[in-house]
């Protein structure tokens, strides 16, 4: 007992000595902390999820940082992008409500606005840095709510500035993400709950938005570079969303393929694949074509790390405008004009067909491409309740419903109207005309049977 008391006292003295002689690095960390921590927000949104065949509400936890004096907070799309309502905890531990302003799944960024009318404290905003100036080995701090532990600060260095993930990266809600940027990798501890929180340099400027950790690994976290975030946020504040151009090409790094295609190093971008019925296909582009110039400017992607910037270049082109391409095909140079289309929404609207035991989504152009559908006609079954009338009838996730009782329902609105009509009139049997793979299936849902079975329970 006596001994432990002694140790405590000694520790206290040591601390005091430490404070008196702070190293320059420690001073910088304190300064960075003081510039950002007062703008750090703990975010608790309630999000909706339709994937189990019913609308399910879920309370999640994330982080965010105030960047505008009117109470705008930047966070991840996967934290607040699907939020119904949001409660935030301010740095002084007071709670305020917030509303979703807009989100962008492709970069995993969302903007929410704090309801400052309820808040008596002063808000502080952060300064956004320049992620292009980051260096490997540079000290950074990560701030946020790891595992919901609010106002946590961790420290590390930048491990790499241009991490690229081959293959697809998807958000929990199913959208592809990270197409237009590489990632900052850091060994500052990032855990679930850090999502949306700031990565801060020692000048106290936000250089990234922390968004990914790695399962079964330590000290490998990823942030979205702030320069990408700045653009997205600007678009969301102006238009509520980010609009992009789309031509429908997938490209591939040219490394190791230069001699086969007969190109110089660091020359051109290789088209690997084209989306069906895309502007690029319409313009006559082919897999194996190498884009040498766009609008007169040379482009290149020798390494995979260069691809996101190339995709961004296309996306940033005005919608409906012509991209003049200089293309190398075999040993000829050809000129191709590609008219850009709007990329559009990635996922369609959700609807829970509660009485029938499944959920549907409107089909967007991008969903049709991804799911190899011929067109966007019908609604996409996004979930089937495990026990329910639809499951019993054999409806499957991924089916496309194109008719109810042999009445065509080719748009989300048509389906929505007919569904509501049928539920109101108390229809007992519904024959769904369903597209499954190449084939049409007839699925008969018996509404009443199921209801009585459930009531009997």
């Amino acid at each position: 007992m006596k001994k432990s008391f002694l140790v405590l006292v000694l520790l206290a003295m040591a601390c005091k000595v430490g404070l008196a002689e702070v190293s320059p690095l420690q001073q910088e960390i304190y300064m960075a902390r003081d510039r950002v921590l007062p703008a750090l927000v703990h975010i608790q949104p309630v999000i909706t999820d339709f994937r189990t065949g019913k609308m399910r509400k879920q309370s999640v936890v994330g982080s965010g940082v105030i960047f505008h004096k009117d109470g705008y907070v930047v966070t991840n799309y996967h934290v607040a992008g699907k939020a119904e309502r949001i409660i935030c905890t301010m740095p002084d531990k007071e709670q305020v409500k917030a509303e979703l302003i807009g989100g962008d799944p492709l970069t995993d960024i969302a903007v929410i606005r704090l309801d400052l009318s309820q808040y008596s404290g002063n808000i502080q905003i952060v300064e956004l840095g320049d992620s292009d100036q980051l260096q490997v080995g540079q000290y950074v701090l990560a701030m946020g709510s790891p595992l919901a532990l609010a106002r946590s600060v961790s420290c590390g260095v930048i491990s790499t500035t241009d991490r690229f993930f081959p293959g697809e990266t998807r958000l929990p809600s199913g959208e592809k993400t990270g197409i237009y940027n590489n990632w900052i990798q850091t060994d500052a501890a990032i855990n679930p709950g850090n999502s949306g929180g700031p990565l801060v340099d020692l000048n106290g400027r936000v250089v990234g938005i922390n968004s990914r950790a790695t399962l079964f690994a330590n000290n490998i976290g990823f942030s979205i570079p702030i320069n990408i975030v700045k653009e997205v946020v600007k678009n969301i504040l102006e238009k509520g969303k980010v609009t992009r151009s789309w031509i429908g090409v997938q490209c591939q790094e040219l490394q190791n393929l230069e001699s086969w295609f007969g190109t110089e190093l660091n020359e051109g971008v290789l088209i690997a694949s084209l989306d069906a019925k895309s502007p690029a296909e319409d313009a006559g582009l082919k897999a194996g074509d190498i884009i040498l110039k766009m609008d007169g400017q040379p482009v290149s992607a020798r390494f995979a790390e260069e691809l996101p910037a190339f995709y961004k270049k296309i996306a940033d082109h005005p919608i409906g405008s012509i991209i003049a391409m200089t293309v190398r095909r075999e040993d000829k140079t050809i000129y191709v004009n590609v008219m850009t289309h709007e990329l559009g929404e990635i996922l369609g609207e959700d609807l829970e067909c509660k009485e029938w035991g499944f959920t549907v989504k409107g089909i967007t152009k991008q969903m049709a491409i991804e799911n190899l559908l011929e067109d966007t006609l019908g609604v996409f079954v996004s979930g089937v309740k495990r026990v329910g009338a639809a499951a019993e009838a054999g409806l499957l996730r991924g089916d496309v419903i194109q008719g109810l009782n042999e009445k065509p329902t080719l748009t989300f609105q048509e389906f929505f109207d007919v569904y509501n009509e049928m539920v109101e009139s108390g229809v007992e049997k519904v024959l769904l005309t369903v597209k499954r793979s190449e084939s049409t299936k007839f699925v008969l849902i018996k509404v009443n049977n199921h209801k009585t079975a459930e009531e009997n329970k």
């Binding site: 393929l257 690997a272 694949s273 897999a287 194996g288 054999g394 024959l431 190449e438 007839f442």
Partner: protein
């Protein structure tokens, strides 16, 4: 597992049955003349790993020039047990050795396997101008329930003599889902053994009734409607002389497809849907989709049609599980057969009845039957695309390529990033529409021996270029 279980039954069966008035000495004398052990070397693959396996089973000489029939199950690439366990059996045995009861050994050449009885055929290849003793089956039109049958089955290799007797009786004459004479007292290990009646006359071989729930079994269907344990208990019975004699006369040849095919996607007409559509029938086949240019398409069949009669007999399929009964009937009618179908077409108003005559086409081959090619430089095995691939990958009919079947880990192709399931569309700029094309392209590469070769492949509904570094 299945083997151990069956062995237990063997022991039980030997212990419990009483002998009848069979002249076992005579039957043994006959059986030992033409019963043989068939040693197969087969290729079995799990995922990307391929190994060779030996299989010893019973066979019978069925002609004086050394034609042999044997249990083809070990080389049945459609066996549900294999499919369930993720095991792939190559449809071609690597080698066959036939061992006579007197110890003489002969190499044999594989001919083919009958899809329905799973009886395999091979022929002894020998320089000697030898006439073999062979079994002659007597056609018994009908068996009575309670009638006894005997057989001599192959015993394990380390015992002498090699043949052991067993008896069983006719337990039922089954009529649905197909005519089948069921026996009791025999076990699964005795399949393909010759059955003798009480006079000692060969009347057939032991076989099993194909469960409709398992025929045309594929993994995706299993997830939809899970088969019960009952589905896996074999029902053993007599494969009769009429059927065997037909097979012996014209043994099924590998690669020759005579299964009939309509070219429709189908669904069972359940009572619920029948009621909803106001169709007064006990069951039927809903045509979900008609494959373009298929026999059904030529006959004018349309999505939403309901097949209610086949060859004048009602098609009473009223649940999904019974679909294979219909599929099997079409399959067995055979390619080229002209088939009468009665079809209901729902119109506005009322329902039309159409009588259609369809000439069945040969069924598309399965992936296991597809021609394949193995390249030893790149250490990969490829095969031609088949009809099923177009469905699985949702591809346009004009899409061409060869499917990567196996990639040896550490080989050039594997290190370069080629994966099983990839579809190779060109090699070094040369289009690969078939394994012949691919083989030609790879031969060319083999002559030129470039340091790098570029494959153009299709994976996850996208195309990409793969650079493969070589090391000649």
């Amino acid at each position: 597992m299945r083997l151990i279980f069956s062995l237990m039954i063997v022991l039980l069966a030997f212990g419990t049955l009483s002998a009848q008035n069979f002249n076992f000495d005579k039957i043994y004398g006959d059986a030992s003349q033409y019963t043989v052990a068939v040693n197969l070397v087969i290729e079995v693959s799990f995922g990307t790993q391929t190994t060779e396996a030996k299989n010893r089973g019973i066979g019978s000489i069925v002609s004086d020039d050394g034609l042999i029939m044997f249990d083809g199950k070990p080389i049945d690439s459609e066996d549900p047990f294999s499919i369930m366990s993720g095991m792939q059996v190559s449809a071609d045995p690597k080698s066959i050795e036939v061992v006579m009861m007197d110890g003489a050994k002969y190499p044999a050449e594989f001919i083919g396997i009958d899809r329905f009885t799973k009886i395999g055929f091979c022929r002894i290849t020998t320089e000697e101008k030898k006439k073999f003793s062979y079994v002659r089956f007597k056609d018994i039109k009908s068996f009575r329930v309670g009638e006894w049958l005997a057989l001599y089955t192959l015993l394990p290799e380390y015992v002498t003599p090699q043949l052991g007797a067993d008896i069983g009786l006719i337990s039922a004459n089954i009529v649905e889902p197909e005519h089948f004479t069921l026996t009791a007292g025999f076990n699964e290990l005795e399949i393909a053994s010759i059955l003798y009646d009480s006079m000692g006359t060969p009347v057939g071989v032991l076989g099993d009734l194909e469960n409709p729930a398992l025929s045309g079994f594929d993994a995706s269907r299993m997830m939809e409607s899970f088969a019960t344990m009952e589905d896996f208990v074999p029902l053993l019975g007599v494969i009769g002389a009429d059927r065997l004699n037909k097979l012996i006369k014209d043994p099924p040849k590998r690669g020759k497809i005579d299964r009939g095919w309509l070219g429709i996607y189908l669904q069972a007409l359940t009572p619920d849907i029948a009621e909803f559509w106001n169709v007064a029938t006990k069951g039927g086949i809903i045509v979900n989709e008609v494959v373009k240019d298929s026999p059904a398409d030529s006959a004018g069949m349309k999505t939403g049609d309901i097949i209610v009669q086949l060859e004048g007999k009602p098609v009473e399929v009223n649940k999904e599980e019974n679909l294979p009964v219909f599929q099997k009937k079409i399959s067995e009618l055979g390619a080229g057969a002209s088939v009468a179908l009665t079809v209901l077409r729902r119109g506005d108003p009322g329902i039309d009845t159409l009588e259609l005559t369809v000439t069945l086409a040969p069924a598309p081959i399965s992936p296991a039957e597809a021609p394949e090619f193995e390249d030893t430089n790149f250490e990969l095995k490829i095969r031609d695309m088949v009809f099923a691939d177009y469905n699985i990958f949702n591809l346009n009919p004009d899409f061409k390529g060869v499917v990567v079947k196996e990639v040896e880990p550490g080989g050039w192709a594997a290190v370069g990033g080629v994966m099983p399931g990839d579809i190779i569309q060109s090699i070094d700029g040369a289009k690969t529409d078939s394994v012949d094309d691919a083989q030609a392209a790879l031969d060319m590469v083999g002559e030129e021996q470039p340091a790098e070769v570029v494959f153009f492949i299709y994976r996850d509904s996208k195309t990409m270029f793969v650079n493969i570094k070589t090391d000649w």
